[in-house]
């Protein structure tokens, strides 16, 4: 790993167009500013890794339980007096395919 020493307001440049600046240092906390093109996504690594791990855990589910889960949910919704606003996500509706 390349290790560089920097002071407040100093920067490093990665490639041609990613500039990382030390904005502030307070005790153990370092505030970084990143200037990068829009197509480069920048994330806190632990959050990025948590989502990656969660995707992995979600992949290839054993989902024979899905129908019974759907029933449990339907029962739950029927119980509550549901006046919530209806979601806007139903854009992929009943063009469904039955398992063959």
């Amino acid at each position: 790993m390349l290790v560089l020493s920097r002071k407040r307001d100093e920067s490093i440049i990665v490639g041609d167009n990613v500039v990382i600046t030390i904005i502030d240092i307070k005790g153990e906390h370092v505030k970084l500013g990143v200037d990068a093109p829009k197509y480069i996504s920048i994330h806190r690594k632990e959050v990025y890794e948590a989502i990656q791990a969660e995707n992995l855990a979600a992949s290839r589910p054993e989902a024979q339980n899905l129908e019974s889960l759907a029933k449990v949910l339907a029962a739950k919704t029927a119980q509550s007096d549901d006046t919530r606003p209806k979601p806007r996500a139903a854009a992929f509706p009943a063009r469904s395919k039955q398992p063959q």
Partner: protein, 162 residues
């Protein structure tokens, strides 16, 4: 793609399926951890609603279960930067379809969904992307079948109805 606007795909769980072109989403960057896979079919079986399948077109055995998070968490809020919306050619979050990925553990009653990494889909061109939200209120495991924390349950004045 055939002229009828459908496509035959091979899947492990559902066998061979014919899916409408309009039900295929395209993720330039893939899902986090699955960078090489860009095409997923949305498969909604009414018997399994509100659960929806996200089936990889490129890998027959790879599938995810997703839900509409607003069904469970009406107070869920996504504040996105214009450039995040632009990655799927959207100008406003109101035009987006949002889905979140579900994990079904051994005890299915402990089913959770990931509100920190939702999928944003532009229904006009089916471009999609997995977002990483900065909002610390949301994490990767929110229980679907347990009591909903008040901040996710929606504002009381909304719940009273219109």
């Amino acid at each position: 793609m055939s002229e009828s606007g459908t496509m035959k795909i091979r899947t492990l769980r559902f066998g061979e399926l014919e899916v409408a072109e309009s039900d295929i989403i395209l993720m330039d960057e893939g899902l986090l951890g699955f960078p090489g896979l860009h095409k997923y079919a949305i498969i909604a079986d009414p018997d399994q609603a509100p659960f929806i399948w996200l089936q990889s077109i490129e890998e027959p055995d790879l599938a995810f279960v997703v839900v509409d998070p607003f069904l469970f968490f009406p107070g869920y809020q996504l504040s996105l930067k214009p450039q995040e919306l632009q990655t799927v050619n959207l100008e406003s979050i109101e035009q987006a379809v949002i889905l979140t990925i579900v994990v079904i553990p051994l005890n299915p009653m402990d089913i959770t969904t990931n509100l920190r990494g939702p999928l944003i889909i532009n229904p006009a061109n089916n471009k999609a992307r997995q977002l990483v939200l900065l909002d610390e209120r949301y994490h990767t495991k929110h229980f679907l079948l347990r009591d909903i924390p008040p901040e996710l349950a929606g504002k009381p004045e909304e719940a009273v109805g219109e």
